[in-house]
């Protein structure tokens, strides 16, 4: 029974039963013949490359939250804000839900995601099983849709244009970090190969 299952997979989006065909070239992708959804991808050092990107993203995330995103020069007054400052101000204005959503989507969810990935990837890269792998993988699946760094970067851009008509606006160091973080996270999600994670987890020493 298990042998029969080993050569088969199902499309996650249309549930078509498909025979698994080994992919030879790195970067090859197996698509569903019925609905074009991605079934699986050939592995190309994905664990090592993902780990490198996770480290880069963690550094950028810390920097992005330590410096002001934007500064404003209004009639001689210097004003600037960080993400935490923006959340604190929303909280004071009786908007705790919006403040929480801002912090969750731009700081906490990316942070949880990157820490969980680092925890998983580093031992797998060394050929060992990370403790709590199944739990962390489930957590990753749950939080992933709520990381919205790229939308936030566009939000910074829109705010910049809106303010630039009334005051002198300066982009802070964090804006650049957020923009870079957006690119690194995009690269990470295209490199990360879930199937490769599970295969190396099964192959690793328990």
């Amino acid at each position: 029974m298990t042998d029969e299952v080993a050569h088969l997979t199902a499309c996650p989006e249309c549930d078509l039963l498909v025979q698994i065909v080994p992919l030879s070239h790195p970067g090859d992708v197996a698509d569903c013949p019925r609905c074009d959804a991605v079934l699986y991808r050939a592995d190309h050092n994905s664990i090592e490359r993902s780990l490198a990107l996770v480290c880069a993203a963690l550094i950028l995330l810390v920097l992005a939250n330590s410096f002001p995103i934007m500064g404003l020069n209004l009639q001689g007054q210097q004003l600037e804000t960080t993400v935490f400052g923006a959340a604190r101000q929303l909280w004071r204005e009786d908007m705790p839900v919006v403040a929480g959503l801002l912090l969750l989507t731009t700081v906490f969810v990316p942070l949880i995601e990157l820490f969980a990935l680092a925890w998983i990837l580093a031992p797998l890269n060394a050929g060992r099983r990370p403790p709590g792998f199944v739990f962390l993988f489930k957590a990753l699946r749950l939080v992933h849709p709520w990381a919205m760094v790229e939308v936030f970067v566009l939000g910074v851009l829109v705010a910049l244009v809106k303010l630039s008509h009334t005051a002198e606006v300066l982009l802070g160091a964090a804006s650049g970090c957020f923009a870079l973080l957006m690119l690194v996270l995009a690269a990470l999600s295209s490199v990360l190969n879930h199937r490769a994670l599970w295969q190396s987890w099964q192959a690793a020493q328990p």
Partner: protein
């Protein structure tokens, strides 16, 4: 032409690790121990619930001001639409278009498309499954971009708050709008795209039975 679905042969794809396993009632994945399901549980009920809640909140999200701006000379209340009109009037047409797409087009597209997908899955005249599957894939990608206006308000409020010359405070609309985005994302996640293909196959079977 008859293509077998995994469910029709009682196989289920594990939603966590992606391994295919034999499905019997209460069975678990051989690889990671997660309970197996043929389809997302209570997909239609959950999607309808989130969707209706999102429709209801969509009205205050667009009618109430998302931002109040007051200075020495004037006080102004901005709704989502008036913010876009302001950007357009200032000559930032590119940005006005981006905000219009993210804040007006995407939420409406999501609400209407999900309604169509749900009715299509539940009704008998379903139509071609492939375009509907592609529509669902589009919804999953674009949904998050509606958070744009929430971030813009957050940054403006934080920057322009502590002085007498100008003051920006958040309006109740921004809360409603943020919740609409979250609810419509939850609705999209609860919907199971495999139901599109299930209903297409059932309709096909019914029609061939009627012809015989």
């Amino acid at each position: 032409m008859k293509l077998p679905s995994a469910a029709s042969r009682s196989y289920a794809l594990c939603e966590v690790c992606g391994e295919l396993g034999r499905y019997t009632k209460g069975s678990r994945c051989m690889c990671c121990g997660t309970p197996l399901h043929l389809r997302k549980t209570r997909s239609l009920e959950r999607t309808w619930a989130f969707l209706i809640a999102a429709y209801v909140l969509y009205i205050p999200a667009n009618m109430l001001p998302i931002m109040n701006t007051s200075s020495l000379f004037e006080a102004q209340q901005d709704t989502i639409l008036s913010g876009i009109i302001f950007l357009w009037g200032e000559g930032s047409w590119g940005l006005a278009t981006v905000v219009f797409i993210a804040s007006i087009c995407v939420p409406l597209l999501k609400l209407f498309s999900l309604t169509l997908l749900l009715i299509g899955v539940q009704g008998r005249k379903a139509g071609e499954p492939l375009p509907r599957a592609k529509l669902y894939r589009l919804l999953e990608i674009v949904g998050r971009w509606s958070m744009l206006d929430v971030y813009v308000v957050a940054i403006l409020v934080a920057l322009v708050h502590m002085q007498a010359l100008a003051l920006v405070t958040p309006g109740p609309g921004v809360l409603a709008f943020a919740v609409v985005v979250v609810l419509s994302m939850l609705a999209t996640m609860s919907f199971d795209p495999r139901l599109i293909w299930d209903s297409a196959v059932t309709v096909e079977e019914d029609e061939s039975r009627e012809q015989n």
